[in-house]
Amino acid sequence: MEYKAPSSIDEAVMLLAQANGKAHVLAGGTDLLVQIRAGFTKPTLVVDVKNILELRTISVADDGVCIGAAVTGAELGEHDAVKAAWPGLVEATELIGSTQIQGRASLGGNLCNASPAADTVPALVAASAICLIAGPNGQREAPVEQIVTGPGQTSLKNSEFVVQFQLPKKLPRSADAYLRFIPRTEMDIAVVGAGVNLTLDKKGICQQARVALGAVAPTVLLVEAGAKALIGSTLDDAALDKLRAAASAACNPIDDKRGTVEFRVDVAGVLAKRAVLIAKQRAEMN
């Protein structure tokens, strides 16, 4: 196995394009190194992207926030502007692993590992994040929800990798939230996750909403019926009940030892509702 740590996007693309056999992109390595050690994957080349500036930078501009794909959870958690603008995304990131893992794990890795239970993905989807993707044919953009196509599968083509996440301009009276369910209180993998992003008007009527669920289907779900239930309402009990039902209805989970189908479906609805209430409270203060 060869290890390379290029310092530019072009160099990384070239290394990946020229790779003979299986090549993996390494950011924090909190998933990849475990998989290599366990023998699940045997790459001939590992390209460490942590030395590439664009992937390690957080930039805040008038039209939104850009987060490098290899920025660590700890860096994001200490970034006041991102925390203020996207508290839901930051709390989702900070739920990954332990303090030690936080020093390594990245948004890009969490997305491209393509686990249905990734915590940051519902939050990114709810936030309408766009991925900037580098590859042999230059750079392209794609919404986060188009990246993962199934457990362990992505739509990224050979030699492509995610450079950064672009979050839209934060509108007044809008906010996001993320909640997950685990059988423990810390250090676990989501049995169900729910990310919500809302925009209210001055009267408290919901203008925009996005609801995303994790771990209840092969990929993270964008629940449009859930958003519909909220938009135009004051997020009253009736709207929340509709959202809960829509979220539960959207679920297509597996039945496994971590949670039965019924349990996941039920909890997904409750989680979505509670995430909305948190986002609402935050939006009202913005």
């Binding site: 059988p183 209180t185 349990f263």
Partner: protein, 783 residues
């Protein structure tokens, strides 16, 4: 000098090496030429072995049952009438009876190479229908785990003082079916063994992670056909045991056989997957139980049918019936029952043998009984702790012989309960429940009180069918030429802090600096024979033996000191490291130097036994000591997620005279964490084919730092009249009362919505299902 004797919260002497990463565990032992072993394990729960195919090129690295010449099967027989014996072959030869049973062993230069060979071995097994549920295992026409038995019952027992009258007429009669799930013990360090043949001493030297080195030696010698003197077992630092390391493992036997026959050291280190899926199983009780009381809550009778899923084999030495037979004798708990009946079945299934686990039988018993007490209280609309007070044995009744002739030594059970009720603030919680929580969660309060028989001896164990358990321990002490004290004990310290507490006991008698007292343990070559560390017996029995040996040594030191001081013996005393007489004093170090280096200063008729003593100690009664405690918990249940947050947790414990209160607190805290795991998180499920479903700690949920609350501990110290210093064994109590306190609190919360969970662990899924069921029931009643 600060007090470092009995009652002092001395920092643990052994912690220095652990905190510096210098502990020496089995995994740290590396011997020249050592081979690693890995096992081929059965993929099916029940089947007949047709063949085990080994590719030609691996013949020298793979061993199956037919290769293990001269190795006997493991037999652990109960002394009770009707017990059916199981024979556990170290490697399966004809049948496999559980997933993970050993089929073959492979050796290599390291574990990875050995595992590569494992992958090349193919076991051709004709599958048989397995028995996986203990209740259906007793039905007619089910498959048999051991065909020759004719059924699947290791042992059936029956205690009956006559309950029919109470059952027929009791004003309050509550029945339930309660389940405590199968669990896995999870010490930080798994099992592990390194064995080598020493040609010079003609000995098999076995380094193994065990709590019971001497018993392992006996078992190994018997199964390997060696003289006991040809086997030396050492337990180095051991990273937790909890009972899992109080057995003789088939893996130990196989590794020892290999070391003898390959003339090379051989090592096996268990990985977590092996522990979880094939070995460390415990508990799994089912109670069909009825509690009868009058309108005031005074108990009239207790009637129970108890089944324990003992798995496929009877483990050495404590047998497959350890749990069920104890259940029958301890189910009445700390209460006064006028009538009692208990039938038990130790049932064989195609699952891992259940092994002793901290709070053997007691955790299940306390859960079952205390659940029933709460139900009676709810029925008659009384505060559960008032019902408990109504029925607890009182201090005036002590010592007390209960309905099954358990002899409770001392204590004030009602006071313990009252203090717990005050500390948890029962009234405050009740008010809070009436007001309701702003976040909609349901608050519950639960208590569990129990007494813990500890350091019990021969009579008690033989009544449970377990032979070979003495009610005594010995210790060897040697005063060294430099004035230090070597204390050799047969017990094994695997986290209890005994290297400190036993030094405190020796200090109490001799007044020597505890830094100069060295506790030597865990080596059959260096210590008196002992059954080891289990059953909360070390501080009472081994502590008694150390004190007795030190007292004898003290007499000899005093005699020499008196001579050197030219004083009459009766005018001298040993104090603070000196022999003191009116004429002056002489340090114990000077006495030691005189004995070893200046014999010319000793009288001609000096006691020739010198400054080495082996002495034994036996409790005044075989019943042992009864520590007791009340655990109380307040928690909040999220009715939509079924999750539980423990808000407040209190323990009031009476362990008699405490040798080291800090270490006692540690025992209580660790035990309570395990009980919280039993109550809320830990479960090892099997599917209908007998496949264990959890194989990693991601699935097998252990409580972590964020699940275990701050635990407030209060102590009472009622001395035991039967132990040397009044101390009582407390090693297991934390894991006993905690299960009941937490499960009762969950059901106290759930009763507000008419729901009840009758099974541990009370997971979010079970809690949500109970809430849903209650809701459906209300709706169906409503329509």
């Amino acid at each position: 000098m600060a007090n470092t004797g009995i009652g002092a919260a001395v920092a643990r002497k052994e912690d220095g090496r652990f905190l510096h990463g210098r502990g020496q565990f089995v995994g740290d032992i590396k011997l020249a030429g050592m081979l690693d072993a890995a096992f081929v394990r059965s993929p099916v729960a029940h089947g007949r072995i047709v063949s085990i195919d080994v590719p030609e090129q691996f013949h020298e690295a793979v061993f199956t049952a037919k290769d293990l010449t001269g190795l006997k099967t493991i037999r652990a027989n109960s002394g009770l009438k009707g017990f059916k014996s199981s024979e556990q072959p170290p490697l399966a030869s004809n049948k496999v009876r559980l997933v993970g049973e050993l089929l073959a062993v492979c050796v290599g230069g390291n574990r990875a190479l050995a595992e590569d060979v494992v992958d090349e071995v193919f076991a051709n097994i004709e599958e048989l229908e397995p028995v996986t549920d203990m209740l259906s295992a007793r039905a007619p026409d089910v498959p048999l785990v051991h065909e020759e038995w004719g059924d699947n019952v290791f042992l059936e027992t029956n205690v009956d003082t006559g309950v029919e009258a109470a059952l027929a007429s009791a004003p309050v009669k509550i029945s339930r079916r309660l389940r405590m799930s199968r669990q896995c013990m999870a010490p930080l360090e798994g099992r592990g063994v390194v064995a080598e043949w020493n040609h010079r001493t003609q000995q098999l030297v076995v380094h193994t992670a065990t709590q019971i080195p001497h018993i392992v030696r006996t078992g190994l010698a018997e199964c390997l056909g060696l003289d006991e003197s040809a086997v030396r077992v050492t337990a180095p630092d051991v990273g937790g045991g909890f009972g899992y390391k109080a057995i003789l493992l088939p893996e130990e036997l196989v590794v020892c056989w290999l070391a003898i026959h390959l003339h090379r050291p051989v090592r096996w280190l268990e990985d977590r997957r092996e522990a979880l899926t094939a070995s460390a199983n415990a508990r799994e009780h089912y109670y069909d139980i009825t509690l009868c009381a009058d309108e005031e809550g005074k108990f009239l009778a207790l009637d129970a049918k108890v089944t324990v899923d003992a798995g496929a084999y009877s483990s050495y030495p404590f047998t497959a019936c350890l749990e069920a037979t104890q259940v029958a004798s301890i189910l009445p708990g700390p209460y006064n029952f006028p009538a009692y009946r208990c039938q038990t079945w130790s049932v064989a299934t195609n699952k891992c043998p259940i092994l002793p686990y901290r709070g053997v039988a007691r955790a299940g018993v306390c859960y079952a009984l205390e659940s029933m007490v709460d139900l009676v209280a709810r029925k008659i609309n009384k505060e559960p702790h008032d019902v408990r007070l109504e029925n607890l044995i009182t201090p005036e009744q002590m010592p007390f012989d209960n309905i099954v002739n358990k002899h409770f030594d001392s204590g004030d059970y009602p006071e313990c309960l009252k203090r717990a009720a005050a500390a948890i603030d029962v009234e405050g919680v009740r008010k809070r429940q009436v007001l309701g929580e702003p976040d909609g969660r349901l608050v519950g309060l639960g208590m569990g009180i129990f007494n813990e028989q500890a350091a019990h001896g021969t009579a008690v164990y033989s009544a449970w069918g377990i032979p070979m358990i003495p009610g005594y321990e010995q210790a060897f002490v040697r005063f060294t030429p430099d004035g230090g004290l070597e204390v050799r004990v047969g017990i094994q310290c695997h986290g209890q802090g005994s290297e400190t507490t036993l030094a405190q006991v020796a200090h109490e008698i001799l007044g020597l600096d505890i830094e100069s007292i060295k506790i030597v343990h865990g080596d059959t070559e260096l210590s008196p024979y002992s059954t080891g560390t289990w059953g909360s017996r070390v501080m009472v029995m081994s502590g008694g033996a150390v004190a007795t040996a030190c007292e004898k040594l003290c007499e000899r030191i005093q005699l020499i000191g008196a001579h050197l001081l030219q004083a009459e013996l009766e005018d001298t005393q040993v104090e603070d490291g000196y022999v003191k007489a009116p004429s002056g004093q002489i340090s114990l170090i000077d006495v030691a130097r005189t004995w070893y280096h200046r014999p010319q200063d000793l009288p001609a008729d000096v006691d020739r036994q010198g400054l080495e003593v082996t002495a034994g100690y036996k409790l005044r009664r075989d019943d042992g000591t009864f520590s007791y405690a009340a655990h109380a918990a307040v928690l909040a249940v999220d009715p939509h997620f079924g999750t539980v947050e423990i808000i407040k947790y209190v323990v009031v414990e009476d362990g008699g005279v405490l040798i080291n209160p800090m270490i006692v607190d540690g025992q209580i805290l660790g035990g309570a964490a395990q009980g919280i795991g039993t109550a809320l998180y830990e479960e090892m499920p099997f599917d209908e084919n007998g496949q264990p479903l959890f194989s990693t700690l991601a699935d097998y949920v252990l409580p972590g730092a964020t699940e275990v609350p701050n635990i407030h501990i209060e102590h009472m110290e009622t001395p035991s009249p039967y132990s040397l210093f009044g101390q009582k064994g407390i090693g297991e109590g934390g894991a006993i009362g905690s299960v009941a306190a937490v499960t009762n609190a969950v059901n106290d919360a759930l009763c507000r919505v008419g729901a009840e969970v009758c099974e541990t662990p009370m997971t979010p899924r079970r809690i949500l299902t109970a809430i849903q069921d209650a809701k459906s029931q209300r709706e169906s009643v409503g329509t």
